[in-house]
Amino acid sequence: MNLAPVLPILIPLVAGALSLAFWRSIRMQRVIAVAGTALLLAASIWLMRLTVEHGFLVVEMGSWPAPFSIVFVSDVLGAIMILLTGIIGLAIAIYSLASTPEGHEKFGYYPLMHLLLAGVAGAFLTGDIFNLFVWFEVMLLASFALLTLGGERAQMEGAIKYVTLNLFSSAIFLSAVGLLYGMVGTLNMADIAQKVNSVEDPGMVTVVSLLFMVSFGIKAAAFPLFFWLPASYHTPQVAVSALFAGLLTKVGVYALYRVFTLIFTQDVGYTHTILLWAAALTMLTGVLGAAAQFEFRRILSFHIISQIGYMILGLALFTPLALIGGVFYIMHHIIVKTNLFLVSGITYRLLGSYELKNLGGVYRQRPYLALLFLIPALSLAGIPPLSGFFAKFIVVKASLEASEYVVAGIALLVGLLTLYSMIKIWAEVFWKKLPEHVTDTRRLNGEVRDKQSWAFYVPVVGLAICTMIIGLYGQPIYVLAETAADQLMNPQLYIEAVLGGQSQ
């Protein structure tokens, strides 16, 4: 049996169990956190190489043949997502060494982090729709606990909304899986894709597809289902925010990509038009929401929403180029958005606030930090030659080619407004003089130093380099996205790989 598609799930699970075993030793938990995520990254690189070489990797649990067993499938999109999970996991683990308060570490921060990564990896790799639900729940339960670690008032209020809407979405997902099973009698996604076209009543299939759309739309924070996100993402400690911002909503986007390219392609004119307008409104409402905010992490949270719009737009247009753009956008976004949250954590450490009115003068004291903010910020806004430019360029070009001029216009306008928000942060946090009511400037002036301040900067620099590489050395990454999009446009390949029994 080929282990490669299972390792990215096993490694964090084992690492999580090990860190639970070392409950009393924070030092061991920290070692395991970095070692475990580093191994995860190594495994994800290996998986990526194998997947690119073979096209698809399929592992059947218990070696039962495909439609009867639970399968784990790695196609190029899945491998890309796993690779990003590995990168973000390692970055967050290193950052957590410096940023996590001691109280959080004592109450199981590291085991939960591993569990979350395992859930995310499982969701990206599974080829079984009910198994996808299970991985969603694994991920959600870990995220609930991470979100409420610390137990401050804002966290509780945010968590109630987060928990309620995510459980609601899970219930819809579960109902949709049940209805789908009632129609096709199988849970294997490849098998469903094969049988869904011969269902007697195609109208019912569309109804079920909309249930999936609503459920994943809530998880991906698409318009009009995103309200839980800006209410909760800015409440936990910053490493958790960054982890959520990078990975969690993208699991929803990935699930949309999976089911709306593989299974529900029988009525593209209807379903994908809904997705198209949801995408346009997601972009617009997200960026306008951000314009009205004056808190560092809340601005960034609203930008997650507007960026989700671009990714869904790539799926909604449903042309090869648009899917390339969407996949490219996901790669760019996960890295850049996590990086921005990490930078916001550093300025919080320096000045003790996320409110823009309490921040300022960072450029004068920390010009390199300002540069480290500027790289992901400009990338997010889509300034060439950074990664965001190419991502936006492909998506906009695809929407022009599909004659969706209004949506293309919205995408460009949103890019401009994103730039406005980033400039707002730049001007307020970095350029403005330090406000006079801020008196505690010892950290900013370097009078007080953290022992492990390197752990703040290593992941930020690393992710900034990733952004630059995607931007400056984009061709191989474009080819990768192209292969992924090619596989998504030809679901027959996926079905043959899973059911054809070429498991080795």
């Binding site: 729940e137 945010g158 459980l167 579960l174």
Partner: protein, 115 residues
């Protein structure tokens, strides 16, 4: 039977949404509990109700004889119940902590993180 169950499930979904839209966090969690149960019941019914025919191969035969109940939805429901149990246990603890920290059970007074 299936028709009756369809109405029951519809009623449960309605009740859960109604409870979730109320202002008290306790009623919110009750709504979530009903919601997860109605989803489980939906899976159970939609895969076909077969009474008194367990999916067992009779002695001497080498495959199933006649119509039997589909065991897979039952396995799904079982898994879903376990998951819902753990998640809802978390939710109950959460509302208790939230009540302690915020000092109210009224959702309309928990708006600090919105806007």
């Amino acid at each position: 039977m299936a028709t009756l169950m369809a109405y029951v499930i519809g009623l449960l979904f309605t009740a859960s949404i109604y409870m979730m839209l109320r202002r008290s966090i306790v009623k919110l969690v009750i709504g979530l509990i009903i919601l997860s149960n109605s989803a489980n019941l939906l899976i159970f019914v939609v895969a076909g109700l077969t009474r008194g025919a367990p999916p067992l191969i009779p002695e001497g035969a080498d495959q199933i004889v006649g119509a039997v109940a589909d065991p897979l939805p039952q396995a799904l429901v079982l898994t879903a119940i376990v998951i819902a149990f753990s998640v809802l246990a978390f939710a109950v603890v959460l509302i208790r902590r939230a009540y302690e920290v915020v000092g109210t059970d009224d959702l309309d007074k928990m708006k600090d993180t919105d806007t």
